[in-house]
């Protein structure tokens, strides 16, 4: 059985067409499609040999590398879903996620074993774990929660021939954890079909070919990476993942991409703006760049204009969508808008439908503002283990008179423009973006409030030209408690990913209130004037 619409089939088919073509190029190492296919077959067999079955979950907690990509394909071939966790997150967050979706396996690196062992405290859901950086098959490996690790080198004992995958296209392919407003991350469940409607459409719409060299900047726990991985594999093009060593240096990344003559970039506006303002992009030869896609945040017009002027020959597109739907609307950007006119998020992709509805779930008249709902083939299966949250997010509603379907409630406010395009107007709740990452302010506030010295805490997103927002905590301490800003940031960093830790902490005797007694976030924001560009 080999279902054609599975994500790992993309690699199998590209390997059949041209086994010797480069699949992954990273730090001077090239993995061709034939090798990627064979190694992921071996890993799938190793997973099965260690008890991983169709429908299981396997976590990835390691820096970006060709082996991390081998691992995610092997996991999907085995019929399991990969669960990529931010490699910069603390081990306790990995442990939380591993328990939450009861992973059957974990792929990590040796140097992480000690912190994992501590975070799991003797109790782990996995049946096995693999050390992707262990090249000695007989190495003595550290134990994590009593489990012996499998060295990556041991995979060579497994057969490399085609692996007969037990998965079907509606099985989960991956689970992406996003920030949760009640203080716990939630796992967005997406199937092979959910992903492929987008990645196949993108490969076709943007005319990717095997001659393209595609950049990969997004980490694998971020859904921008699905285009990089799977639209690239669909056409047998070469993927160029950014090395972890240079990822944090905009000038180094920009120089590398220009030098490697990458033809397709898909990035957040934050990272593109940093390349513009601090990366010397204007001094580089961008003649190879033919397609630039961006998503995740609003692109400031000023910088979009600069970027488009630097690559006048390239095609630009604004892709839009929450993790729950991946990309659901898109806009071909012919020229950046004038003045402050916001860039539209375009129209629904052909596999989805975008609905702008009022609170009674009726379509808003043209020009009116409503909430964006999305139905169609890319919409998630739900949140792992959270039936109530899933039922709120996914509702069966009237799509047209007498026609009902399941739709995802995005929480985004939108307006239908006269030309039929959509304008994004912000959030209904306290979800914000910083450097393209989605953060529920409530999750950070819950963590702060868990500190014994904190009476009340509010987190605000202070607008920033380069990275969209910077997080700032405003804290009222308990009477008599001595708490420092460093201590609170440390407290946050123990369980939250770095990008969710407030950059600054302000202490107040009390918080401003609205007449109804709620914390007045507007007043707090107003007293924090936005920083200008550098």
């Amino acid at each position: 059985m080999n279902v054609h619409r599975l994500l790992p089939r993309l690699v199998t088919l590209s390997a059949e067409r041209h086994a010797g073509a480069p699949a992954i190029v990273m730090d001077g190492v090239t993995l061709d499609y034939g090798t990627l296919e064979q190694r992921s077959n071996r890993f799938a067999r190793s997973l099965v040999a260690h008890g991983v079955r169709r429908g299981d979950r396997v976590a990835l907690w390691l820096p970006k590398s060709p082996d991390a990509i081998v691992a995610l394909y092997g996991i999907m071939k085995a019929g399991a879903a990969y669960v990529p966790v931010d490699p910069a997150s603390p081990a306790v967050r990995l442990a939380y996620i591993a328990h939450d979706c009861e992973v059957a396996g974990l792929v990590t690196t040796r140097d992480r074993a000690a912190s994992l062992d501590e975070a799991f405290a003797g109790r782990a859901p996995m049946r096995a774990l693999w050390f992707a950086d262990e090249t000695d098959p007989r190495a003595e490996l550290p134990r994590v929660a009593g489990l012996p690790g499998v060295p990556w080198a041991a995979l060579s004992a497994e057969e490399s021939r085609a692996f007969d995958s037990p998965a079907l296209e509606d099985d989960l392919a991956y689970i992406l954890y996003t920030s949760g407003s009640t203080g716990e991350p939630k796992g967005v469940m997406l199937s092979h079909r959910n992903c492929r409607v987008f990645t196949d459409w993108a490969a076709e719409t943007f005319a990717l070919t095997e001659r393209d060299r595609v950049a990969n900047q997004a980490p694998f726990h971020f859904d921008l990476s699905t285009f990089d991985l799977f639209s690239t594999a669909a056409v047998g093009a070469a993927l160029h993942p950014v090395s972890p060593r240079i990822a944090a240096f905009p000038a180094a990344v920009a120089a590398r991409w220009a030098q490697e003559q990458l033809s397709v970039w898909y990035c957040t506006p934050s990272s593109l703006v940093l390349m513009l303002t601090r990366g010397g992009l204007d001094k580089l030869d961008l003649s190879a760049l033919r397609l630039l896609l961006f998503a995740g945040e609003v692109f400031p017009n000023k910088y979009l204009r600069q970027l488009m002027a630097l690559a006048p020959h390239a095609r630009f597109a604004n892709l839009f969508g929450p993790t729950e739907t991946n990309v659901c609307t898109w806009l071909e950007v012919k020229h950046a808008p004038d003045g402050d006119t916001p860039l539209s998020i375009g129209r629904a992709c052909p596999y989805d439908e975008a609905l702008v509805l009022d609170d009674a779930l009726r379509p808003v008249p043209a020009g009116g503002v409503g909430e964006l709902w999305v139905r169609g083939a890319s919409v998630m299966h739900g949140y792992w283990g959270k039936p109530e949250r899933s039922a709120l997010a996914l509702q069966t509603i009237d799509i047209a008179p007498g026609i009902r379907d399941r739709a995802y409630r995005t929480g985004d406010l939108a307006r239908v423009l006269p030309d039929g395009n959509l304008e994004f107007l912000g959030r209904r709740d306290h979800q914000v973006k910083t450097r393209g990452y989605r953060v529920e302010l409530g999750e950070v506030e819950t963590r702060l409030a868990a500190h014994l010295g904190v009476d009340e805490a509010v987190v605000i997103a202070v607008p920033d030209e380069e990275i969209t927002n910077r997080l700032k905590a405003v804290v009222v301490c308990r009477a008599g408690a001595e708490v420092t800003a460093d201590e609170l940031r440390q407290h946050c960093a123990r369980t939250l990913p770095r990008y969710m830790v407030p950059e600054t902490v302000e202490f107040r005797k009390e918080l401003p209130r609205t007449s109804s007694g709620k914390v007045d976030r507007r007043a707090l924001l107003a007293s924090n004037t936005p920083k200008g560009a550098r």
């Binding site: 490699p87 603390p90 972890p244 060593r245 990822a247 240096f249 450097r435 940031r489």
Partner: protein
Amino acid sequence: MSLSPTETAIHQFLVEDVFYDRDLSSLGVDDSLLAKGLLDSMAILKTVTFCEEQFGITIPDQEVLPDHFESIRAIAKLVERVRGK
């Protein structure tokens, strides 16, 4: 091993303001900051700002590269070189 004043200041800044969530008091001047992914893009921007304010210099964007942030010694070298110009 004795640290130069520049190295001492950078060491103190990194341990207290950047790696505040980890126990890195034993961080050596030649230990790699990049191999283990200790520095993310926010941390690098903070470190650049600190050096500029602390040492009264301007670090050009094109100098903010992995080789110059490999270790405390490398950052100190960068600071001294920029200061000498």
